[in-house]
């Protein structure tokens, strides 16, 4: 290609002003602003939230949330195990991110690390959704003290229960929806270029 050959001829000529050794010294003291650094920071925050919520459930032995005992046990065990397993997986994957890998290898490792945290967030959100659902059901169906239980039960019809379930589902969806919206907004920006470039390389290898 003729034009590319013209560019090749001038390619190695220094056309940019040289950066002094002094400026390079200053540069290496500066902090990185790379996308991976931000992905790492946000992932750490996500893991920290997961760990904190697990610990909070552990130090709150009284069944104040009104959860059935089987659910409380499941949530407690999951609250400990999931953050521990995913923290380990995250750090193991993070260690494989190496700037001297091939372009595809590096992209692959970043995306793999990100997927681990994504799974962790989705599992946590599912647990939160189940808990919110039960707590709302419990709160809305509990008869306030002072009201005769028999009387109140007679007043509740099947239609009321359907409306109740619908309200609970909508409220749970809104809470989870807001969480997901913030989540995808945050990562959408950071991961867009990475995903695009990775897909391009992946398609080529098909």
């Amino acid at each position: 290609m003729e034009e590319l050959d013209i560019l090749k001829k001038s390619w190695n000529k220094d056309i940019h002003p040289k950066i002094s050794a002094e400026s390079i010294y200053k540069m290496i003291l500066k902090k990185s602003s790379s996308a991976v650094k931000w992905i790492f920071i946000i992932s750490m925050i996500e893991l920290a939230i997961g760990l904190t919520s697990g610990i909070l459930l552990l130090i709150n032995p009284e069944n104040e949330l009104g959860l059935p005992s089987w659910l409380e046990t499941t949530v407690t065990i999951a609250g400990i195990l999931i953050p521990v397993i995913y923290s380990y997986k995250f750090f193991k994957n993070y260690q494989t991110i190496n700037i001297t890998s091939s372009v595809k290898g590096l992209l692959n490792n970043i995306i793999k690390t990100r997927k681990t945290v994504k799974q962790f967030v989705l599992i946590n959100l599912t647990l939160i959704a189940i808990m919110i659902f039960y707590i709302l059901c419990h709160t809305l169906t509990t008869v306030p003290v002072g009201i005769d239980n028999e009387v109140s039960l007679q007043l509740i019809t099947l239609k009321d229960y359907f409306v109740l379930i619908l309200v609970v589902l909508i409220l749970t969806s809104i809470v989870i929806g807001i969480c997901l919206f913030i989540y995808f907004l945050l990562y959408g920006i950071l991961m867009r270029t990475l995903n695009k470039n990775y897909e391009e390389l992946k398609q080529l290898d098909l």
């Binding site: 372009v103 270029t193 470039n197």
Partner: protein, 164 residues
């Protein structure tokens, strides 16, 4: 020891800085973005430097890190790029070295390359650096055959942009 390492790094980087400038030239559209990317590449190189064992040439080692930073780590400047920036930036070539036609062709060439995807830009960069397909496939993480296919496609795309 750290001072020695620092000195050795800065000396080598100062000597081979043109490699980073060439990557920045393809991946950025204005002087500020060029400086930002140059700085990010320098930081990444410095971080990886303690693991650099000298098995490969310093310049070869720089290619990977510079390209990886441009393709995966660099967060492009959100400032709106003016169309003039693309055409005028990086063409401060001394007038006696080139005639007007050649300079004009170079300008067009750079603006055409900037329309390619990040991956295609990397392939064109490696072609201009006269790397063979084995080296290109290793740097990109794809097979040699696919590197060839992709390179031909990138060249074809450039031709189309230049001769619509």
């Amino acid at each position: 020891m750290d001072k020695e390492l620092e000195h050795s790094f800065v000396t080598q980087l100062e000597k081979h800085q043109n490699i980073i400038h060439k990557v920045c030239r393809l991946y950025t559209n204005n002087q500020d973005a060029h400086n930002d990317l140059f700085q990010e590449v320098t930081i990444q190189l410095w971080r990886a430097f303690p693991k650099f064992r000298g098995e490969a040439k310093f310049s070869t080692w720089m290619y990977r890190i510079a390209l990886n930073t441009a393709i995966t780590l660099y967060r492009k400047s959100k400032r709106k790029i003016q169309t003039n920036d693309i055409a005028d930036f990086h063409f401060k070539i001394k007038s006696e070295e080139y005639d007007d036609t050649e300079e004009e062709q170079l300008k067009l060439m750079y603006s055409a390359i900037k329309q390619l995807s990040d991956i295609e830009k990397a392939l064109i960069f490696l072609y201009l650096e006269e790397k063979n397909y084995k080296e290109i496939s290793e740097t990109m993480g794809i097979s040699e055959v696919n590197a060839r296919v992709k390179m031909n496609r990138a060249k074809g795309k450039l031709k189309k942009i230049l001769n619509p």
